[in-house]
Every structure is written in C-alpha cells, then in structure tokens.
C-alpha cells in the first residue's frame, strides 16, 4: 500500500472516531461508558479527533517524507511498511469499535454482568469459604449483632409510649463511646473501609429526619452506603427504590436484588448498589426488569451479616430510565 492510501484510511478512521464521539455525546449515550465528570476530556478528544482527521485527509507530507522524518527522527515511516494482511488486521482493530460503538451504544449492563461482579459476594463467599468460620472476629461480629438486636428490641419497648410513627433510633441517645466501640467491632477492625457517615453527613441527617426516603439518581450511592453501614438507624422508615432486578445462582425465586450500577470513571469500574428483597410477589418478576419498590426498612441477617431490606412492599414496573447508571460523586474541594 502506498503511503497516500495509509493516510487516507487513517483520515477516515479518525473521522469515524469523531463521528462516534459526536454521536455518543449528542445522544447522551456517552454516559453509558464514561462518568459525567469526565466529560471535559471528551470534548477535548472530540475536537482533537476532528482536527486530526481533517488534517490527515489533506495531509501532503507524503511528498516531503524525507524532509519531515529527517527532522523528527521518529521514523513513523516504519509504520507504513508491512504486509497487506498485517494492515488489514490493524485497521480492522480500529474500524470494528467505530461500528460496535455506533450500533450498540444503547446497551446497558444488566443481570449478566451483575452476576459476574456479584452482590455482596464479599460477605456471602467469605462465610461460605470459611474465612471467618474459625475466626474469632466473626464470632464477635455475630455476638455483637445479637446484642444490638436485643438492645434495639428493648429500646423499642421503652420508647414505645408515643406509638405513633415508626420507632426511631436516635443516634444521640447511644453513648458515643459505645458507638465507636460498636462500629469498630461490628466492622471487624479494618475490614470496613468506607465511612459513608463521614462522606454523606447531610444526607444522613435528611434520612434520619424523614419518614419516607425516596432514592434518586443523585442520592442513590449515598443512601445505599448509609444503609449498609448502619441499617438499624433507619428501621421502620419507608423507602422507595428504583432499579433493575437480578438473582444470584443460589437465590430462591422469591428473592432478588433491586439495584443499579454505580460508576466512578468508566463502566469498567462499575459496581452494584442495591437492596436484597424477599417477597412472594417477586416470584414472577424476571431478571432485568426495572421496578419501583416501596416498603418499610427492616434488617435481615444474611450469612451472619446484617443487611437492610424492605418489607410489605408494593412493586410497580417502570421503564428503564434514560440514564440507567448512577455515578459516584466526590467533591474533591471539600477535602
């Protein structure tokens, strides 16, 4: 192949990527690959690709080859030498993603990827494989959970006279010392690493103040993280969650997870945020159905771990939202 042909096909490929990026940004599908906070980089990439592609088509340095490469000694000329098959392969590598990107950009990760990544697999498998089985820590954790339960049960009785509204556990009533100790034990020392309470202080206050927590795209990751950290604090409140459904291999028909993928930078780092539900109504719900579920927050023991779940649920089928993923937002300026 002559260098002119190479330059031509490369120009076409660069324009192809420009069109791909433009299409993704225009339709908003870009957010199925990349978190919104990365967008400035993609406007940059779009412009650069367009400029490079245009320049490439009108590039005339094949005449001044000698000159040019003498000057820079990068000898990219080497790139233009080789067998036809090699180039067919290399250019196919570039062309295929342009087409799969344009044609299949609407695809949204669902139950299949959720199964690969696993929901709370860390908890479940840790117990199954016996990592904690002979481990003092796990027994402490279990004991601690028992204690918590008893205490919160008695606490409820004592606080009950008002009897109107759901039982509220006032964080302030629990002595600071106990709570810290509790959390430390509860989390098995260094096992729990994120502290949602310190990351979402305002959200936590809002959740404690309201009787009905509604999960939105913006508070999704925060609500789930807070529920995971300290489910007991929210028991009895109503909660509305939207998400797609999936089941792990060992789930029963009436169990499923409603959740959404949370993304930090790109879809490759997606993780599942969701709630495990159990209800007979769920039997006929298939995987990858989008639901809006409203119910009362309750805790459930799942292989020695306490998780938040919903009881007395009402379910409603909904359309997949335009933006099916939720994004982890960190305000770096607050540090």
């Amino acid at each position: 192949m002559s260098k002119t042909t190479h330059l031509f096909i490369r120009g076409v490929i660069l324009l192809g990527f420009t069109m791909l990026l433009f299409n993704l940004i225009w339709t908003g599908d870009i957010n199925r690959f990349i978190a919104p906070r990365m967008m400035p980089y993609f406007y940059f990439a779009l412009v650069v690709m367009g400029v490079l592609g245009t320049i490439q088509l009108f590039r005339n340095d094949h005449d001044e080859d000698h000159d040019h490469h003498e000057a820079c000694h990068c000898a990219h000329d080497h790139d233009y030498q080789g067998s036809k098959k090699k180039f067919a392969f290399i250019y196919a590598l570039f062309i295929i993603p342009i087409f799969t990107g344009l044609l299949f950009s609407g695809h949204v990760l669902g139950s299949s990827q959720a199964q690969t990544m696993g929901f709370k697999h860390e908890l479940r498998l840790a117990t199954e494989t016996g990592i904690y089985a002979n481990n003092e820590e796990s027994q402490q954790v279990a004991q601690q959970i028992e204690q918590d339960r008893e205490e919160s049960a008695t606490g409820d009785e004592n606080n009950d006279p008002s009897s109107s509204g759901p039982p509220e556990i006032d964080e302030d009533e629990v002595p600071e010392e106990y709570r810290e100790h509790d959390e430390e034990r509860y989390d098995g020392g260094d096992m729990e690493i994120l502290t949602p309470e310190s990351m979402y202080p305002e959200l936590k206050d809002e959740m404690l103040a309201t009787d009905h927590i509604v999960m939105t795209e913006d508070n999704y990751v925060g609500v789930i993280s807070l529920l995971e950290e300290n489910p007991d604090a929210y028991v009895g409140k109503e909660l509305t969650i939207e998400g797609f459904t999936f089941r792990e291999d060992d789930f029963n028909n009436d169990q499923l997870v409603v959740g959404r993928f949370g993304i930090t930078c790109c879809t490759a780092d997606a993780g599942i945020f969701g709630l495990l539900l159990e209800d007979s109504q769920l039997q006929e719900i298939r995987d990858d159905t989008w639901l809006r579920v409203t119910g009362t927050i309750e805790t459930v023991e799942y292989n020695n771990w306490q998780l938040a779940t919903l009881e007395d649920i009402g379910i409603e089928r909904i359309e997949q939202p335009d933006d099916p993923y939720v994004y982890e937002q960190f305000d770096y300026s607050e540090l």
């Binding site: 690959f33 490079l52 003498e70 993603p97 342009i98 696993g118 494989t129 690493i193 930078c265």
Partner: protein
C-alpha cells in the same frame, strides 16, 4: 486500476460509517439481533476502557510532541543531576508532582529518553507518575478515608518501590544499549532548527495522529483482553485466596494487572474488595496496578523492545511482591 478499487473501498467505508452515524439509533440493532447480553457487556466494557483512555493518550501524545518541539536536550540535561544514582530521588519527586496517568506517561517517557534522559531515570518516572499523583492521592483518600493506613501505605510503598526499580534497572542496563525500538532511537537535532514555527505546529499534529495509530492498536488489544477478564471472570474465583498472606497479594497483583483500570478509579474497586482481601493485598493491588498493567504493557511494546518490557515487568513484580510481604510482616 487497483488504486481506484482501493480508494473505492475506503470511500465505501466512510459512507458506511456515516450511515451508521445517522441511523444507528433508529435501528436499535441490539434489540433486534438478539445478541447474547454477555457479548454486549463485553463490547460495552471494551469501548468504555478504550474511550476512557483516548483523551489521556491524546494528551500524552501532545505533551510529548510539545516536549519534542519546544524543549531542548540541554534543558533536560540541566535539570537532571549528572550522578546517575543521585538522579533517582528527584525523578520520583518529578513523577509525584505531575498528574500524569499510565496511558499518557508512556509517550512522554519515551520522548524524554530520546532527549537524552537516562533509562533508569525514565523508568522511575514511568512507574511513579501514575501512582504518586495528586489526583490518585485524593481518590484513594476518599475511598479509604477510615483506613488511612491504606492511603499512606500506597503512597509510601510506591515511593520506595519506584526508587528500587530505578536502582535495579540501573544495575542491569548500565552498560547496555538503548532498549527503545530502533526507529525510536536517539535524535540528532541538526534539522530541527531550520523549521519554521508553522511547520513545527504541523509536525505536532502529524506526529499526534501517527502516534495515535502506533499506540492505538496496542491500546485496543489491551482493552479487549481487560474487558474479557471483566466480563467472564466471576469475582468468586478470587475469594478463596483472599486472606492467604502469600497468595492474597499475588492474586491481587495479577487481578490489577489484567483489569487495567485507570489509577484514578482503582481505589474504589479496591475498596469494594476490601472485605475479602487483607489490607496488604489491597495495598498490593493499588501499588502494582498503576505501575504495571496489561494496557500499559501493550502501550510500552509500541516503543520499547519486547525483551526490555518483559524485564521491566519482572523487575517491578519482584520488587513489589517482597516489599508488600515485608510491609505485611511489619504491620500485622
């Protein structure tokens, strides 16, 4: 005649892309064709890794082109201590100050070498810049805010490891020839001077597109492998090694290598695995991934001789692993 045919094919290709560009969304092929969702998952993750890398590769390419055209060899020589061992420490500091990720660092480092930077100094920057990096520090801090030991260990160990890598590379390659592929060897600058400013700008753009293709093919292959692992490797497989003091860090290093995550995002993935893996395994994941991963191995292969790339991987691996084990023994 043959040339005509070839041009015709390329025009047809351009037309097809344009057609897909206009009508892809109305066709909704993914619903109609009934493609298994795992294949589409693979495609989505593959594209997301590739797309995510594009702006940073382009940035790296432009920075390297600008260094090429506007920074003279003398300037670089001036700022690097002439004592080869004395240059290692400033190199780590340089790596720490510049927020350059692992995709962008490869063309930059190669350009610095062409400008006369010593191999071992360049390698120190290559492994340190993606980890010791203000943005990575912040994201790690967020992900591990209640377990700051992970943050300190990541940064501290990366610092020590980058210096050790520099020492070992210096010991091995002190008397050997330049491991850059021949066509990227040293530059002699006689012709550079008499090019006009417009020509220089044109050169930058020509280089940028040439380098996009040189690196792009490796990036695509790397993204495809990484996506394959992401889509088909059930995380459960990893769990059984989680708390093993020797296998845990090794498995997490391998996992980091194949996942090829951006160093800015890997802290969050690390945090999600923190319950099944020991702290030292998580630190191994966070230190090793940005220094060495599949994507950046392939990017390096674009410029360096294969033998050198594999030596570098071996050096980094056999430094990170024992350092992690020592850290583990001291801490726990």
């Amino acid at each position: 005649m043959k040339g005509f045919l070839r041009e015709g094919v390329i025009y047809a290709l351009l037309f097809l892309i344009f057609f897909a560009f206009l009508f892809a969304d109305t066709m909704a092929l993914d619903d109609r064709l009934n493609i298994p969702s795992r294949v589409l998952d693979f495609n989505t993750i593959f594209l997301s890794i590739f797309l995510e890398a594009i702006p940073f590769v382009l940035l790296g390419v432009f920075v390297s082109s600008i260094i090429q055209v506007f920074v003279s060899d003398q300037t670089i020589q001036k700022y690097i201590p002439s004592n080869p061992l004395g240059a290692i420490f400033p190199a780590v500091i340089a790596g720490a100050v510049f927020p350059i990720c692992e995709c962008a660092i490869v063309p930059i480092v190669r350009r610095l070498m062409q400008k006369g930077m010593k191999l071992h100094v360049a390698m120190v920057i290559l492994v340190s810049a993606p980890v010791l990096n203000p943005i990575v520090l912040l994201s790690t801090f967020y992900a591990f805010s209640s377990d700051l030991i992970v943050v300190y260990a990541r940064m501290g160990l990366a610092f020590i490891i980058a210096m050790l890598v520099g020492l070992v590379i210096y010991a091995i390659y002190r008397n050997k020839t330049n491991p850059l592929r021949e066509q990227f060897g040293a530059i002699t600058h006689e012709h550079q001077a008499n090019r006009s400013f417009t020509q220089k700008i044109k050169d930058i753009f020509y280089h940028a597109s040439d380098e996009f293709f040189t690196m792009g093919k490796f990036l695509l292959i790397g993204a495809a492998f990484a996506s394959f692992i992401q889509t088909f490797l059930a995380r459960e497989v990893l769990v059984q090694f989680g708390m093993d003091p020797f296998l845990g860090p090794a498995v997490m290093m391998a996992f980091a290598y194949f996942l090829s995550l951006c160093s800015e995002a890997d802290a969050f993935v690390g945090a999600s695995l923190s319950q099944i893996f020991s702290t030292s395994s998580i630190v191994a994941f966070l230190v090793y991934g940005p220094m060495m991963d599949l994507k950046n191995t392939l990017l390096m292969l674009a410029y360096f001789k294969a033998r050198f790339v594999f030596t570098l991987i071996a050096v980094v691996t056999f430094i990170v692993y024992p350092v992690i084990l020592i850290f583990q023994a001291l801490m726990f």
